[in-house]
């Protein structure tokens, strides 16, 4: 059983969509989801790099410790770290969103910037 390169393809498209939402969408919550998607895309890409067709997950079974039996454990470990980091970041962004909404009653970042500028003047 082998998987062809679909995972990387999907990962890149996911990254592209997420990055575009992060850049273009003016809604803060959508921006946040876009950021999370960007990260998922990258992690999918990284995890696909560790895959070797026909091999098993890196959990030692029956004491077999040969390289040829398992896939590469490093990308999985890195992704594990990354997932947690991205949840932390998105929690902070959401908290900022709540504070901003409480103050300005809108989620649109342009309107918020407008109102903040008026406040300054």
């Amino acid at each position: 059983m082998g998987l062809t390169n679909y995972a990387e393809l999907a990962a890149i498209i996911l990254f592209g969509i997420g990055f575009t939402i992060l850049l273009i969408d003016r809604n803060l919550i959508k921006k946040n989801i876009g950021f999370a998607m960007t990260d998922s895309g990258m992690y999918l890409y990284l995890a696909a790099k560790g895959y070797i067709s026909g091999r098993k997950a890196p959990i030692v079974v029956n004491g077999v410790t040969e390289m040829s039996a398992y896939i590469n454990p490093i990308p999985a470990g890195l992704v594990l770290t990354g997932i947690v980091v991205s949840v932390a970041t998105s929690a902070v962004m959401l908290a900022l969103t709540v504070r901003l909404y409480r103050k300005y009653h809108t989620l649109n970042i342009d309107e918020i910037a407008d109102k903040a500028r008026k406040e300054r003047e």
Partner: protein
């Protein structure tokens, strides 16, 4: 290889604040402040001792984090350059925290002050980790700690509104930068199979020689460098800087402006000189990108600073320009000029941000009009601001002058269009610098009009700020007096850097 006890200092400099941050959460407010200050002082002392031992030692060494040798576990690496930067970061964190403590007490509500000190300690740990780490992924994780802690430090101010807006902008810009940086790490990991910097460098040299992966390598260079440039607020990505620096409490502002944006540049230095090597950077034309954006940042940052009436925003805009100088240094392959400017700018910018609150009268929004005669009302702060301003202007015999001298030397060495553009940019931005900085100083020392309302009595900021300002003035002068040995140390550090 046996490891001397002093060689464990970088490890202690990272782990001590990390541990201290967890403990700090449990302490009551006043004790938390004492504890944080104590830890910062301890880290500063250790960094000083480390530098004293490091200079005669004369070569860099690797320090494994765990029981596993080179490519298998995490590693730290320290040389003279790291020791100098470590001392700068530890010392300035302490100084900024102390100098801004009275304002922080005033700006931050009581329930948040404990958390504020937790954030400061985590920030210090992350910065020390940036300085000493020898592993790209570790750098990413600690970059994220710094990003989030920086967001907290901007938003910690009790006043809602603009501080939060600027924190949000900061966060969006930084997450774009993080995404690019992480993608760069993933691609380079895929190409080489390593995350440790020396191994990465060996593989990259091989790939470069093989010529098979030149396009992906260019992509890696672009992603890593532009991700870090976005995070360090290089010119077109600076939109959050003026708001964030002018609304944050002075300690946070000086910390963010003088240290945090610099530590992304430290990672950048590692990427450029240790991982990729200048050959790969040149092949990808990244040096020209640095050069162009650095020069543009220098000019535009200064040009805006000269028009801004609010003195805090003025200083913030000048930061945009100063980051431009550092990137110009990178673009001209003058790493020593870049590092020297990191030192100068950190010392000068923290003095500006810390002296400003004493100069701005209570109830003013910080526009220059209210600041007439401020230099007489708060003499020490006035002298401090003037010192910082003169250093940034780069009048002969001040820190900024040596930056400009080294940059000009590098430009002359580069020749061609690079030379003319950078010389022109240097001259023009120096003129603009003189314009806005001298303007501030002149306003501070002009007599207030007789019919003006007498300003309210200045807030007493006490002994801590006064001593901090004296130390910073001394540091700015010391940078000038010891310029030659420091530059030698930086250059020898570069020799053992890659």
């Amino acid at each position: 290889m046996t490891v001397a006890l002093w060689q464990s200092i970088p490890f202690a400099c990272i782990l001590l604040p990390l541990f201290g941050a967890a403990v700090c959460l449990a302490l009551p407010r006043r004790l938390a402040r004492l504890w944080a200050t104590f830890l910062m002082a301890a880290v500063t002392c250790m960094s000083l001792v480390f530098l004293v031992y490091m200079i005669p030692f004369g070569k860099s060494y690797n320090y494994p984090m765990g029981h596993f040798p080179a490519p298998f576990g995490n590693e730290l690496r320290a040389g003279t350059l790291e020791a100098v930067l470590g001392l700068l970061f530890a010392g300035l964190t302490l100084i900024c925290t102390l100098g801004g403590s009275r304002d922080a007490e005033h700006d931050i509500s009581e329930g948040r002050q404990g958390l504020y000190h937790v954030l400061l300690l985590l920030m210090e740990a992350a910065m020390m980790a940036q300085v000493y780490t020898n592993d790209l992924f570790t750098a990413y994780v600690f970059v994220e700690i710094m990003t989030i802690a920086g967001c907290g430090l901007i938003a910690v101010r009790s006043e809602p509104g603009r501080a939060i807006v600027s924190a949000m902008r900061y966060m969006i810009m930084n997450s774009i930068g993080s995404a690019m940086f992480l993608l760069g790490i993933i691609l380079i990991y895929d190409l080489t199979g390593h995350l440790l910097m020396e191994n990465l460098h060996d593989s990259v040299v091989q790939l470069q020689a093989g010529g098979q992966y030149s396009q992906p390598l260019t992509m890696v260079v672009a992603l890593l460098c532009s991700g870090l440039a976005v995070k360090s607020a290089l010119f077109p990505f600076h939109s959050w800087v003026p708001d964030a620096y002018s609304t944050a409490t002075p300690a946070s502002a000086s910390l963010l402006a003088s240290l945090v944006s610099k530590s992304y540049i430290i990672v950048m230095l590692k990427v450029v000189f240790r991982i990729l090597g200048t050959d790969v950077i040149n092949a990808a034309r990244m040096d020209d990108v640095f050069f162009v954006f650095g020069a543009a940042g220098m000019l535009i940052g200064s040009a805006v600073a000269i028009t801004v009436p609010d003195v805090r925003r003025l200083v913030a805009w000048s930061s945009v320009a100063q980051i431009g100088y550092i990137f110009l240094g990178l673009g001209l392959h003058a790493g020593d000029a870049a590092v020297w400017h990191i030192l100068t700018h950190a010392a000068a910018k923290s003095i500006l941000f810390l002296s400003l609150p004493s100069l701005i009268p209570a109830g003013s929004d910080g526009s220059l009009r209210d600041l007439r005669g401020a230099g007489y009302r708060a003499p020490l702060a006035g002298v401090a601001f003037t010192t910082g301003a003169l250093s940034l202007i780069g009048i002969p015999l001040m820190g900024g002058f040596i930056t400009k001298l080294t940059l000009a030397q590098a430009a002359l060495g580069a020749g061609g269009a690079h030379m003319w553009i950078s010389l022109a940019a240097l001259v023009l931005s120096t003129v603009l610098n003189v314009g806005y900085m001298l303007r501030c100083v002149l306003v501070f020392y002009s007599h207030p009009e007789e019919d003006a309302v007498p300003a309210a009595a200045p807030v007493r900021r006490g002994f801590a700020l006064a001593s901090v300002l004296v130390v910073l003035i001394a540091a700015n002068i010391a940078l000038l007096v010891f310029a030659q040995p420091i530059l030698t140390a930086i250059r020898s550090g570069f020799a053992m850097f890659d």
